[in-house]
Symmetry: C2
Subunit: 379 residues, 2 copies
Amino acid sequence: MKFRLLTPGPTPVPEETLLELARPMVYHRTDEFRAMLAEVLAGLQHLFVTKNSIIPLTCSGTGSLEAALVNAVPAGKKAITLVAGKFGERWTNIAKAFGIEPVVVSVPWGQAVTPEMVQNALREHPDAVAVCSTLSETSTGIGHDIEAFGKIVAATPALLLVDGISGLVAMECRTDDWQIDLCCAGSQKALMMPPGLAFVAVSDKAWKAFDANKAARAFYFDLKKARKSLTTGDTPFTPAHTLIRAMRLSVRKLVAEGIENIWRRQERYATATRSAFIALGLEIFPERPNTALTVVKVPAGIDGNKLLATLEAKYGMKLANGQEEFKGKILRLTHMGYIDQFDILAAISGVEYVLAEMGAAIDLGSGVATFQKAMAAER
Amino acid sequence: MKFRLLTPGPTPVPEETLLELARPMVYHRTDEFRAMLAEVLAGLQHLFVTKNSIIPLTCSGTGSLEAALVNAVPAGKKAITLVAGKFGERWTNIAKAFGIEPVVVSVPWGQAVTPEMVQNALREHPDAVAVCSTLSETSTGIGHDIEAFGKIVAATPALLLVDGISGLVAMECRTDDWQIDLCCAGSQKALMMPPGLAFVAVSDKAWKAFDANKAARAFYFDLKKARKSLTTGDTPFTPAHTLIRAMRLSVRKLVAEGIENIWRRQERYATATRSAFIALGLEIFPERPNTALTVVKVPAGIDGNKLLATLEAKYGMKLANGQEEFKGKILRLTHMGYIDQFDILAAISGVEYVLAEMGAAIDLGSGVATFQKAMAAER
């Protein structure tokens, strides 16, 4: 049986990139490697839509969030954390771990924090050093209005920190135009790579804040030290250099398509996918869905855990379950990265099969037909 | 020209492991992945010679040092750092970054910190929470007497933290028998993997200290959280799971040979390599050489930078230069990991060629002949 990976990270990796990972080991303190790293970072500037310097880190995406927060906010100071799901909570938890006072602005899962809430939080806490948001909240599929947040935060001394790990490249995000001070990304999502690398784009306002943060508790994640190493094209510690070498190939593909084209494609995929599930009678879970993934409610009377298990066992398709209280109640399907419309069509087909087998009252074929029509209409 | 990588990290990776890295992406929250991780960690327990739990981290080796130190030592408390080179200094610098007071015990590069120095430092600083050492100090090639340090530290409330990144598996190191509380390793040295993974073996004494360290500044490197995740076979954050999957193959090779056999082989390699360079009239740099790498002084009148550049350009061999003030003055050749006696023979041959070409008064062929005889004698 053919296996299809459709979780919102890790995502499939292009075959050429995988083969590159099998190439022999080389040393990393060489001009050859420095050129590879420089190419990857230049490509990322296009994809982040930024002129800011981008710092590469060898870690999971979460490491980049820690790097952003601990360099920006001194212990004892406040960070406003916008919590619309599991990954928003992560900002709160990192803050607590480093003695930073989190000011939590939360909404129920499935909803998005609004610009008004951000405005009010900053008014009540003018001493907040940072506002921390997710771009795509992967646990629920909502997207935040980062452009609006950026306008509000830029008018204050606070920094805007954005967890773009699962959203960046898969949905519109203009780091500079939207005034994002620290924009974080992980390799295993829309960047079409295995996990192991993370990146942070740092604004001038953020670098100034780092200089003022004398009590920063960071060594491995010291972004100032990393910037200094980058002046000679290096990293402060041995990087996962074979991942960087392979990443050139994935980044080249993305840059060749162009970020605006990628966003447009993602928008078409997301719109068509939502319409397919709606045609099947399913409800879209997030009130403000983003284009990185589609999250739908499992129909009443259907066991979502069983649905996903069957989908994998019988049809070889791995979609993601809901997390925490939403386990078994929602299913999450990504359309970012190395996934095209025909992969999504296959996934919708698989979900239709299993829903029908489990006795859901669906009109078999209406999902794939609706997807097909929606894609054709938007060509 | 055939390329030969002989730097003390990254080291060559077995071909089967490289091919495994090219396999398609999978999801990581599955029983299949949990079984892979469990196999790697069980293999590492054999290689670390420990019954302690081993925590996997996605980061460079330095990340594991930070994890060990910040979990063990509260801010404001003392850590004795044993500094015999660049990597010993790293302990000092991590301590400073986290507000830990380093008590530095240092020796000139090329020398080793002695057990007496450790004993004296602990006597003068009975309030020290940790003693931090390197196993192999890769910048100089010395090996520390961790067994003796362990006896001294175990008699106190302090913890023994060992940077085994470039020494573990390549030289004798018995984590439990030698009473190492936190033993750190990186994937890209004797473990025959690309960089990107690190590991920390944690003793019961260390877990108790972590519980008492209420002010630990750690999130990504929170080892207690990682231990909790491991109870279900997971990691707290998305791991570099394709590296873990591939690492099974490298670990299987090492476990099949057996750690005692690996150490014996490394001892033979190191002894024979040293005798070869001595036969060529070169001087061994470290006063207490270890078996992970051989570090020799460049003969007077020879430019070490040119020697290494020629070796690479003309013979395709990448050895490591000295660092900081020893750049151009020493050369470093590893014999750990996926390197066998014939690779070392080739390296000695290459060094002989370049030395002769640069006008050094050597007896061409005496290096390789001595190596050959030494290996044969020890069969």
